[in-house]
């Protein structure tokens, strides 16, 4: 394989971005479709090359390829930064996830974004994002990685605020950027800290230093926690989770790609990339597991009560990212990344399903939907597959990776296992609540008269086909690890036979436990929202404080935005500083100036115009200088 191939994987969408923004948008704006085709072609190339790289990596000894790097900045006796790519098993898996999901979503977007005035801009940003994201998973040193890391954050900002004329979208975009940047502050500090202690930015060198024990103790722990802080910001882990639900203001395919399948998973990827560092710090690894498990249950609980289909799925994403962190924390790269891999497909599909439903009904409020199974059969079936996969129902993909996480956490962290098990129940409940409310019963849409039922329609083929492909992946992607291959590829797996892998798991008690719990969740949703044997309103009335707490999202937005940023900083401390600047600093300067002018008037009487007097002053001055020289010189 030529060395240019991995470079081309991320540069290809970059070229697409440049072509769209410098050529297509200014000169061919009346053919907006061209930008879509350019993006799809570019990402298609990336996708093809990613599979090529995967095959090469599978063949390569130790599952890694050497790619020569490029000198970026060199300062003698100081720093030397080279930009290069790591191509190993982790990279190869992530390349497949990103390029495949991105390609399908770009195809889908042609239908979803049809007729939007910002169509070329949309595709330009999507290309840019895909380029940054593909680079992110390949970068071989911290500086390069950080460049892509911030790059995907930028694209997230631009795409959340895609409909910037809506204040909610503009606010959400800003919030997303600033909250993740708060996490990145820790990441940047960790980069400086690691460089100070090791003198290198190279990720593989850091790995070997951690493995050799040179990088150890509190230094390692702090560095790992700094990296995790960046990861927590990107992956919306508690307490930096508040931006992701608001990010749903962006177009739905953006939510599917950036805020479900890839960018938010970059945090999980980052921890996986630096896993040798985490592995050698028990404290850091435990914190990752605890934050992950807590976020999983915390976010799932808010997902129970949301009425916006995208927000339910968004809380589900935060919760599942928590699962991945838990997986990394209790077991390792293979388990966490396996869930990331499966989640990318079924969660992207859930968002595309939500987009498809929105395309038909013009709303995201599930109370305005209902009965859509009849008019949108494809959306219905694919959504069900994704929901079952998310709920962890055998033998769909979500089952396999979730089960591994549960098994390992049961072995090492029984308390976190309990949290994860409760989350399984909540997950099954909230997603099937959506299924029953949106697709079951009768259509209830009232607000939009022109969206009456006879006009409701299935989405066009360009949207449905990507959903069907994703549904296929959502069903079977988990089977890749039946023989333990996937885990072994990532350095951690037990080989077993295909049939043993597929059926053997049913002979163990733990999978049955999680299946029963998930089944109960689905049944409760069925009883409440399909047969209405249990009235949801009555449940809501019985637990008013709990319901309010959940639907107000534990008041975190108020705490952060109103109390901390608003009252304490911007309208508190900073007002004080501004007043200090205006009245104390500038005021005293002007005060001195006024005094000086007054003194000047007084002293002007000294200027008598008599030359003799001036001569006397000059003489006194010379004497003074001479004395100075005599004593000090």
């Amino acid at each position: 394989m030529p060395h240019q191939v991995p470079w081309l994987i991320w540069l290809s969408p970059m070229f697409s971005f440049i072509i769209i923004s410098l050529i297509l948008r200014p000169f061919f704006n009346h053919h907006p479709k061209l930008s879509g085709y350019t993006t799809i072609a570019a990402i298609g190339i990336s996708c093809f090359l990613s599979f090529w790289v995967l095959i090469e990596v599978l063949k390569a000894p130790g599952h890694r390829l050497e790619i020569p790097d490029i000198q970026w900045v060199v300062i003698e006796d100081g720093i030397s930064i080279h930009l290069g790519l790591i191509v190993d098993a982790l990279t190869a898996v992530m390349l497949i996830v990103v390029s495949v999901v991105s390609l399908l979503i770009q195809i889908y977007s042609q239908g979803y974004m049809h007729g939007d005035p910002g169509y070329p801009r949309y595709y330009a940003f999507m290309s840019l994002f895909t380029g940054f994201m593909l680079g992110l998973v390949m970068a071989d040193n911290l500086v390069f990685l950080f460049l892509f890391w911030e790059g995907v954050g930028l694209c997230s900002y631009l795409l959340i605020g895609f409909w910037f004329h809506r204040p909610a979208a503009a606010n959400a975009a800003k919030k997303a950027f600033i909250v993740t940047r708060l996490g990145d502050f820790g990441f940047l500090a960790a980069i400086l800290f690691l460089f100070y202690h090791t003198g290198t930015f190279d990720i593989e060198r850091l790995h070997s230093l951690a493995i050799a024990g040179t990088l150890a103790g509190t230094t390692l722990t702090w560095a790992a926690l700094g990296i995790f802080s960046g990861a927590a910001g990107k992956s919306a882990q508690f307490p930096l989770h508040t931006w992701l639900p608001d990010a749903m203001e962006g177009p739905t395919p953006v939510s599917a790609l950036i805020h479900a399948a890839t960018m938010v998973a970059a945090g999980v990827f980052l921890v996986a990339r630096f896993f040798p560092l985490f592995e050698h710090s028990k404290v850091a690894l435990t914190i990752v597991a605890v934050i992950g498990a807590f976020t999983a249950i915390f976010a799932a609980s808010m997902g129970l009560v949301m009425n916006d289909i995208k927000r339910v799925v968004a809380y589900s994403t935060i919760s599942q990212l928590g699962y991945m962190m838990l997986g990394l924390g209790v077991s390792g790269v293979a388990v966490g990344i396996f869930h990331l891999f499966n989640h990318a497909f079924f969660k992207a599909l859930l968002f595309l399903g939500a987009g498809s439903v929105n395309h038909a009904t013009g709303t995201f409020d599930i109370r305005e939907m209902g009965g859509l199974r009849r008019v949108m059969p494809w959306t219905y079936i694919t959504f069900i597959i994704a929901a079952l996969s998310l709920a962890g129902i055998y033998p769909l993909s979500g089952f396999w990776s979730k089960d591994e996480i549960l098994i390992y956490s049961f072995k090492t962290q029984p308390f976190l296992f309990t949290l994860a098990l409760i989350t399984v129940f909540m997950t099954a409940f909230y997603i099937f609540r959506v299924v029953f409310v949106v697709f079951g019963g009768e259509y209830r849409g009232t607000k939009l008269a022109h969206h009456s039922e006879h006009k409701l329609h299935e989405s066009p083929a360009v949207m449905v086909i990507p959903m069907v492909i994703l549904a296929f992946f959502s069903a079977v992607s988990g089977w890749l690890n039946l023989t333990g291959n996937f885990g072994e590829f990532l350095g951690h797996g037990e080989a077993r036979g295909l049939l043993e892998g597929f059926f053997g798991i049913l002979g163990k008690p733990l999978p049955w436990l999680s299946l029963i719990v998930a089944g109960l969740g689905i049944y409760l949703a069925y009883a409440m929202y399909s047969t209405r044997r249990i009235s949801p309103e009555a449940v809501g009335r019985t637990f008013v404080p709990l319901y309010t707490t959940l639907s107000r999202k534990y008041w975190f937005d108020e705490l952060y935005e109103r109390i901390f940023v608003g009252k304490t900083l911007v309208n508190g401390l900073f007002v004080g500083l501004e007043a200090f600047d205006t009245y104390a600093v500038d005021g005293s300067v002007n005060g001195i100036a006024d005094k000086t002018i007054a003194t000047g008037r007084a002293l002007s009487r000294v200027q008598t115009g008599q030359l003799q007097l001036y001569g006397l002053f000059i003489a006194m001055g010379i004497v003074a200088i001479t004395i100075c020289f005599y004593f000090f010189g």
Binding site: Q71, W72, V73, V74, I75, E76, D77, G78, I79, V143, F146, L147, F148, W149, E150, G151, L154, Y157, G161, F164, H165, R166, P167, A170, N171, A173, K174, F177, I178, R181, L182, F185, L188, A189, L192, F193, F195, Y196, L569, V570, L573, F574, V575, L577, E578, D581, V585, D586, V589, A593, C628, F629, F632, G633
Partner: protein
């Protein structure tokens, strides 16, 4: 003698001044074309110098393109010019911004002849400061800069322009007076005005302790940079100056402070610099955080950008007095980067104001629909200012942070660096808030029919963007040159 590159670069704008002054009744268009032509020529020639600059290891610590002619023999003063890696980057910055400032001024209608004369003289004086190797010559150019600034602000400015102009002049003059005192003490102690020799004359005794001379010089540079609490001239002057002057003021004039600190304070008094570094590093962190906090409260778009400069120049101060090889390279790169980024932002603020006649953030909004090109470029400039990777802002700040964090000279520098890094979060806050207030949300009816950038304006702002991206993607363009100038300075600190 070789071709006098530096003299030509420095005085090309003055040639334009002479031509403009001699032309009988020139049309405004002609004046503008002459100004653009000569400043472009100066920029091109400075790029030639940049290209010819010797980057081999043998050139470390050597001044290049040196011109030395006896000038005032009575006091041993020379017309002595030369550039090293440090000054060369700033010369290129000055000629670039000098040309772009002419483009920014393309719509000037009030007394265009005088306006361009002052603008061109300003460019010459700035180039002179960066190229001078003789203290008297340095001081002369330093002072000459005040005259055009005063007239440009007080005649072509807005708001309280006379007040701001006087405030600027008084602040600078107090600084200059103290600097002159410092220069005189140096001269009477050593008998030399050669900036290169002074670095070798460390073991001597002066009338007042070295620390005294150090602070006399430092005060002048601290006013220019500016260092809190000497900064209050800056928001007034920047806000009330005409757009092109704000561009030059933020882009180049502030850098005179940073340049002076490195070239004189640190180079001549390395030991004093090491002793005083902890104090100055703390001031730098205050600059960064306090500047950013006050920026967040600003309601006037131009004033907001002005205050952000204070915060960003804090990184320069931090980099300089962390006193490591990498941190000084970072600080110099940050000066260049801030020059093009803030220059761009002021140019854009000027465009927004010219077209919408509004600078109050509470009354702006939704302009992205009416001026899409300006909105995009403003966003790029803003993202560069908040240090987004792949822009020069990130390259400069990152190298500065790495240099500071690994510095071994200053006690506790790592804590201060981390505090400085925190400034990046606040910067993201005010930049994104500002962009949202100006460009996002529903378009306002009162701005319907407001035009977008025209071709001259596009040429100007796209040039800025190209420079920002080029340095951001491949900072070695500059760092390979800058480090040659920094290495000998670090050797002084080591010894």
């Amino acid at each position: 003698m070789d071709f006098p590159y530096l003299t030509t670069v420095i005085f090309l704008p003055v040639v334009a001044v002479v031509i403009i002054a001699l032309l009988p009744q020139p049309k405004p268009k002609v004046i503008k074309f002459i100004s653009a032509l000569f400043t472009l020529a100066a920029f091109a020639l400075s790029l030639v110098v940049f290209y010819l600059f010797d980057r081999s290891p043998g050139a470390i610590g050597q001044m290049q393109f040196v011109e030395k002619v006896p000038w005032i023999s009575a006091i041993n003063a020379f017309y002595h010019l030369g550039v090293d890696g440090l000054s060369l980057s700033l010369v290129v910055l000055t000629t670039l911004l000098g040309f772009l400032a002419v483009l920014v001024s393309w719509k000037i209608e009030l007394r265009p002849r005088e306006y361009f004369i002052w603008l061109l003289i300003l460019e010459t004086s700035l180039l002179g400061v960066f190229c001078s190797l003789d203290l008297v010559l340095f001081f002369l150019f330093w002072e000459v800069e005040l005259v055009p600034m005063y007239f440009l602000i007080s005649i072509w400015g807005t708001g309280r322009r006379e007040y701001s102009a006087i405030k600027y002049v008084v602040y600078t003059l107090i600084g200059s007076a103290l600097m002159l005192g410092g220069i005189l003490v140096i001269y009477f102690t050593t008998g030399s005005l050669n900036m290169l020799e002074l670095a070798d004359l460390a073991p001597m005794t002066a009338v007042i302790p070295f620390a005294g001379i150090f602070f006399l010089l430092l005060f002048a540079f601290a006013v220019k940079l500016p260092v809190i609490p000497l900064h209050t001239w800056l928001p007034d002057a920047h806000t009330d100056a005409p757009t092109a002057v704000s561009v030059i003021l933020a882009g180049v004039l502030l850098k005179m402070g940073g340049y002076g600190m490195i070239r004189l304070c640190v180079t001549i008094f390395p030991n004093v610099a090491v002793t005083c570094a902890p104090l100055l590093v703390i001031l730098a962190v205050v600059n960064v955080l306090y500047g950013a906090a006050v920026t967040l409260r600003q309601k006037d778009l131009k004033r907001l950008i002005a205050y952000s400069s204070i915060s960003h120049m804090g990184y320069v101060l931090l980099g300089i007095f962390a006193l490591s090889q990498v941190s000084l390279v970072g600080a110099t790169l940050q000066m260049f980067s801030h020059g093009i980024i803030t220059g761009l932002l002021f140019a854009l603020v000027g465009l927004v104001y010219d077209k919408s006649h509004e600078r109050n953030l509470d009354r702006l909004g939704g302009l992205a629909r009416q001026m899409p090109v300006i909105a995009v470029v403003f966003s790029v400039g803003g993202l560069a200012a908040l240090g987004l990777p792949s822009t020069s802002g990130f390259a400069a700040e990152f190298i500065t942070f790495v240099g500071c964090f690994t510095s071994t000279v200053v006690e506790g520098i790592r804590l201060y660096t981390i505090l400085g890094v925190l400034g990046v979060v606040i910067t993201a806050g005010y930049i994104l808030w500002m962009l949202q207030r100006v460009f996002y949300s529903e378009p306002l009816e009162k701005f319907n029919g407001v035009p977008d950038a025209d071709n001259v304006e596009k040429l100007c702002i796209f040039s800025f963007v190209a420079a920002i991206m080029a340095i951001g993607l491949y900072p070695a363009i500059l760092t390979d040159v800058i480090r040659l100038g920094i290495m000998p300075i670090i050797k002084l600190i080591g010894s």
